[in-house]
């Protein structure tokens, strides 16, 4: 699991770098982008 910081451009929250293409799940948690990768336990999305 890794995180990518967010920035605000023209009032839109945007990652500061491109998202990886091999992620299993990406979550924006209100602060940053959390990248779940192979082997990570995935959170329950409700």
């Amino acid at each position: 699991m890794k995180t990518i910081a967010a920035t605000v451009i023209n009032e839109v929250v945007t990652p500061i770098e491109p998202m990886p293409i091999d992620a299993k799940l990406i979550v924006f948690n209100g602060t940053e982008y959390v990248i779940y990768e192979d082997g990570d336990e995935l959170p329950v999305i409700e």
């Binding site: 967010a6 605000v8 023209n10 009032e11 839109v12 929250v13 945007t14 990652p15 491109p18 998202m19 990886p20 293409i21 091999d22 992620a23 299993k24 799940l25 990406i26 979550v27 924006f28 948690n29 209100g30 602060t31 999305i45 409700e46």
Partner: protein, 192 residues
Amino acid sequence: MELSNPLISDYTWANKPSVAPLGQIICVTDIGENGSLWRGNGTKWVRLNPIKIFSLSAPFSLTNSTSVVTLATITIPAGLLGANGKLKIYPLWATTNNANVKTLRLNIGGVVCSTMTSQSVPNNSGLLIIRNINSESAQKCSSGLVAGIGASSGSIASPTVDTSAATTITITGQLAVGTDTLTLEDLFVEVV
């Protein structure tokens, strides 16, 4: 027997021939899932089939925020659409099943083109279409639709984004109530 077709040559979108002889077919290797076939009409290269140019690599969830958040960014290569090309964008998105509004927006070149909202359902499967209308710099798309197609009381959006240059499509999500969740489960984009 060895498969061989010397009549179809491989090019990239950037280095394809500037002349497009009538009837000549080429393969553009970097456009489409495994390349795409284009046929010259004497003036330009014309795609022979619809082409899938983007597929979301992983589900994307948004929660704990009421901000507008970028969920996906897609680059359309310069000139790929042509003067009458259409972009078909197919989102599948799940939401917390309550009455709070969840919003998915489609931006082209930084301009909001379509807005889809969801309330009191667990998921939506939509179709958003951006249409170049006789110009690479004049688009039309419907707006204000819950699912992207059907009747709408909203006016037709008319962006003027120059698609003869590389163009960015952005999908954003927004929650009216931050404790809800919006998950973009899948998204793919087709050029027709």
